[in-house]
Symmetry: D2
Subunit: 446 residues, 4 copies
């Protein structure tokens, strides 16, 4: 996963952008970069850490001149680690267009790399698929940016939510699938582009609207200009709502916290746990889901008995299995007195590898939980994501293939396990076809 | 504030202790140290950062040999910064007793420094009051440790929850006031001493009991030996329950989460906000209080509209005003859609400087909150703490002197402000005299 | 001062280049950078430190792909410090030419910045004069590199020894004045460009020849192509021979060690110190001069009584006066027993600020030297350099204006001081007009 | 090897001591530590790097209070690396004596570890033999320091030049063998103890005298008190004069530079190289030897054709073979023009592993040297040192066993190789028995 934040026409644009990246830091923690545009040049700094550490030295921000900026955060999966050691796989990536430098940041994943390589006809500098977009735009530049972007995007397969910074302009591009979110904010004469709307509060900006699928939005001193370069074919990522986005964001038109409370209610309706004493969540992504689940009190009273330690990062996006184990041991604190002798429902947003749940169940047992009932707010995750979410391969997915929930419950040490039915998940949206459920139903697109 | 964690008879005791310190990291973030006992010697490493960073280099832990360990975390107030620059003001502090080195860690504050200086008759090495305990024990050593500790503690005024590590023993001492918590945990043949019981889960240990006021507990290969060196005169810190302890801890015999839910109910009963739409908390210390406040739904529905960013530290214990401002701007995310047009109750554990609340109210207004009603789960904090909590001087306390809640509400930009009445606060305990409310009522003791 | 090292067609070109920069590290210690060309792209890394520290992390070199490379070292004078804090004033600088990136490294100083600014018509990205060369080449690019370089260099005033790296080519340019050296080395099919020939030994390459004044030398897979773009008007920097170059280099056709021995002999002939016991040098630049001075033993026996500590840098290129003072105190060790009661001749290459000499004389006095006679192998340095040597302004030059050597000797605490006569200095070269002596005689050129 | 520097009664004693350590940094580069005494306490800081880097943070020095100090530098041999990773093997080591802390720094090597372990009867904290001295002094303390030191030293076998710091005193101890040097300096009312006298100049102190073999020198506010605790049996290390000491030091009563010039003359007399053109040294240890060798010009003219780069450390004391190889490649620069076609004599202080010489000969060949004649100013080094010099084991010594110089010359690629005859080496001192030549003749003592 990645995160994008752009700033147009603001004092200390690099600082604003750093605050923006900080606000979506939950999306990726391994690499961060900021490019700025000073009207004439693009300045760039990137590094390997969370954003506020990459830019901890004030001189680093001092050297990023200009009123416009583009930031990116990125994580490195284990598969990519070797690449990341031998290539400067950070974003934004700089390119050259029409006698100006530009920088590009991308959230998504491209799936026709062989074809793109043939079109480009020369090697890449990095090992990031993103670079094909930069190089093809360089190669095919005519000076008509909208037309050139249309041509370049027409050969891309996959998801490619992105933002381009020129020395004097900021350009947001949403792919026709709208797979990952991108939205526009405003504060006085300044504009902001962000992966999630939750960032706007920190800089006192207001959410304006989403970038539409198939839209190119150019922000310059001439104001905003919107171009439609492709017909929308929405395939919005279900995981963005279920897991990725911060609850304070409004994603795909939905307030995420409200969506998750509703999701929790549906989960309880279809997967109740009658007779349970307590409903808790795996912090923090499932907090609002558990609130919804506990609302009618049929399946236990809502009560948080697992508390997240403030001094660690998010487990889903850590690198190796070994690291993840330690992280789990270090990241949660359990309310021993509230657990002992209780029948407990643990609500999680989804079950991917199951690593965290396995340890949580073991801890709850240790604390004397009488029964442990797991409820997954997503249907079984059976297939890897091809569109930018770091779900693992089939081998590592706990629920790939035909699985029996009882067996999985047994494997996890729980008394029961229920998944939100796929049809209920789909029915949450009036037009289920507007969402991508490939990781659940295998219906890949493009 | 400080935190203490001790380990007796465990493999890799330094690592166990690091996990313990990590589990109480919310108590102090500026300095961390671990001493180990290998049967013959005391090994020590300390540094200025959160514990997991001070001990991030594996070689550092590798060099801390022994099956026994003692860890300490400490914060540096702005007042102490200059001292901390010119003195090695970290703990545990090493001393010498009966031909053995020992290390001592202290949570509390001593108030008779002039007298202690006269008794010691020579300068200190650090500028920490803790060192008087170390030096007097050195000076008065007879070889009878319990007797010597009794003599030393008899001249101390203030609070001095502490733990001593000898190469082959661990000794916990609770002062007669029991001002700050200290408890015993156990796992097989290993024993643990911790400021809070929340740490035990991370290392699969069980909470056994609190160290009693006036108790010296020696843990050695001969087992546990308890000595009563002074008559208990409990003055337990109310802030430990209201704010400091993690909700998963059991402090002064009370499960903290349950205590706070109860506190929230009382707050709502005495300080309702009828007609409000939503009850939210200032994350994370007031979360359970807000749950209690919202339970009967008379004063709004419980709904978290302020989310804490995972990638920053706790504001209360940051150093300068300037840093605190930035921290506040960076640490919260607001659910804009849920706030707009709503009458919102914001529950906080207490109002100390008011800095954070001021900014939160401003943000809520910006997001279009219709009304904002502040509810403080503590009575007004009017006096500085003399017993180890870093409350500021009278000048910096927002509510020092005779204050009018309406004026404070106005100053904070809120529509109303109500404090839990002092008598209600006191009545929460069957024996209110067992608690210290000096910061609220000015009744200092000793 | 700066240093340049380029590599064409070598395995691990970045490493070769790092070794090259290390070999000329005496020329500048504050910033270092290496760009590589992989046939398609330019990779770049720069930082603030000596080269081996900037590239100490192996991953940094791992990411600099390609068989061609260009390195640069640079110092930051006190005047430039503020700039360096707010601008990324490191080299090589990247630009764009004919649909390819390139990187440029420059040794020298340009003096017609106002004119260059007008020609460029837009601001710079850095505050280095070097960038004008990059930007004008971008602006005026036609695809005929030699012609474009000719046009760009035709508007430059000052010195501009430089090297350009394209993804597949290395281009060396010497300005008509030949003010600073630049030479070509070869090892099998690999070529190297270096500020000084002393670097070639470390990589087992052979010195081939100097780049000629007014020459553009393109090194590509087609071999070497030389273009003459301007008529030579040699103004070779005398300081390069007297002070800057390493004794093992061959600079301006002269083996530097031999030149300095000869310089020492001339100095002794014209500025003897009859009756002296010992001739020593200020290490290390004047070592060979002192050898020459002591050869005929008329003015004392050659004997090194001042030894340089290995663990500090070169004083001339340290930043502030304060730092220089400490550096001097830390960098020399004196042979007390050899100094006591002796009449000592101290040979220095030149007297710029006089700071170091002042302290050396004081130390020698402290050790009981009977007489101290200073001999400067350069005539008085009266004027700042406009061509790239970091000599200070008139105010800071000890010998600016009409000075009386006796007064200067008194100021420095010495018994006598003699300077090599200007005419002798000039007569060392068959064509004295081929050398720049502006710092000595004020004859600025261009 | 190690280095010791002590300060008594000086402002900012820690800084003075840091300058002292810096002045003997050539003796060891891996670890550095400084303890200070403030009249009541011992403060200590140690780390792994050269001294000026270990103490680069000004706060570190700020926290080392007191007018008395003791510093130590130490290197870690490859054999010791694993130990150094798991133990805090830095010095000074703190102990406890007579109700006071003290710190001890040691230069030398103890050889009766089994016996010392039995005497101590408990494990060490570190893996440094030095700690036995600390612990035995603790164990046997009576309050009569001179008597206690006499008792402790009476059981030590090997060399143990050392210095102890108490909060208010500095105590220097020289072992009866005087194997390694230790001397006394003075500046006004301040006293200094140093491994070498070369350090005194940097702090404007004067050399007073050596600490005598078998002497304990106590420096306190009562002045200097000298005790003789053992009968001298001098076994002064020949390597200290031949290689280790800085030329500006006066070691074992000999100005080192003068000694080495004399050594060079003797070498030339017994091992001439008639017909050679040039005499050069392996920088920097053999510089003065080469000056002596070239003096009569019979075996070539003295001319330095190998120049040491300022930006690397000393090769003898680098860790692994691999690192040493790179270091050699990076540390020298060769005067190509002066070498070509010449018959060159290369003078080295000794031949230990031969690694450096092998590469130097190869480089000289590459530069076209016609003949290369090696001359070693030490007889063949055949045996490991048991007294504190890091010579390698028999396997790694190039000249262990019965060697034929011609074969060694062939192995090194030279045309000839001659060693100073052992009897000539011994005859340099009026009482050869006062020196240890065990590495040359195998006569180990004790």
């Amino acid at each position: 996963m990645c995160g994008i934040f752009g700033t147009f026409n603001a004092e200390r644009a690099a600082e604003q952008t750093l605050m923006g990246l900080h606000g979506i830091q939950h999306r990726a923690v391994d690499f961060a970069g900021i490019a700025t545009g000073d009207g004439t040049y693009i300045h760039l700094h990137t590094g390997a850490d969370v954003a506020r550490r990459v830019f901890a030295n004030p001189d680093t921000l001092n050297k990023l001149h200009g009123r416009h900026a583009l930031g990116h955060i990125r994580y490195g999966t284990s598969k990519k680690t070797a690449d990341d050691k031998f290539r400067d796989n950070t974003q934004p990536i700089k390119g050259w267009y029409n006698n100006q430098e530009f920088a590009l940041a991308h959230n998504g994943n491209l799936n026709n790399l062989v074809e793109l390589q043939q079109l480009l006809g020369k090697p890449l500098m990095t090992t990031m698929d993103t670079e094909y977009i930069v190089r093809l735009l360089q190669k095919w530049q005519t000076g008509d940016l909208a037309a050139d972007l249309k041509r370049v995007t027409s050969v891309l397969r996959g998801s490619y939510t992105m933002c381009l910074l020129f020395p004097d302009r900021l350009v947001a591009v949403q792919d026709p699938s709208n797979c990952h979110p991108l939205c526009l904010g405003k504060r006085d004469d300044s504009y902001f582009i962000s992966s999630e709307s939750c960032t706007f509060g920190g800089i006192d900006a207001d959410f304006v609207r989403d970038i539409e699928p198939g839209e190119i939005l150019c922000i310059s001193s001439d104001g905003l200009q919107s171009h439609t370069y492709a017909t929308p074919r929405r395939k919005q990522c279900r995981f963005e709502l279920n897991y990725y986005s911060l609850p304070t964001s409004q994603t795909f038109g939905k307030p995420v916290d409200e969506y998750r409370i509703e999701l929790g209610k549906l989960l309880e309706r279809h997967c109740p746990a009658e007779g349970a004493d307590i409903v808790t969540s795996v912090p923090d992504s499932a907090n609002f889901i558990a609130v919804g689940y506990g609302e009618n009190k049929r399946s236990g009273i809502s009560r948080q008995v697992i508390i997240r330690n403030h001094y660690v990062g998010r487990s889903f996006i850590q690198e190796s299995q070994a690291k993840r184990d330690t992280a789990v041991a270090n990241k949660f604190s359990f309310s021993a007195h509230a657990i002992k002798g209780k029948k407990i429902v643990v609500v999680d947003d989804s079950i991917v590898r199951g690593t965290t749940l396995l340890k949580i169940v073991a801890k709850l047992r240790r604390y004397g939980a009488k029964e442990i009932h797991l409820r997954s707010a997503s249907p079984p995750i059976k297939n890897p994501c091809l569109y930018g979410i770091d779900t693992p391969s089939h081998e590592e997915l706990l629920c790939s293939g035909d699985i029996n929930p009882e067996h999985v419950a047994y494997a996890l040490g729980a008394d029961s396990l229920m998944f939100l039915p796929l049809e209920v998940q789909k029915a949450m949206s009036p037009n289920p076809g507007n969402f991508c459920h490939a990781c659940m139903d295998g219906n890949y697109w493009h």
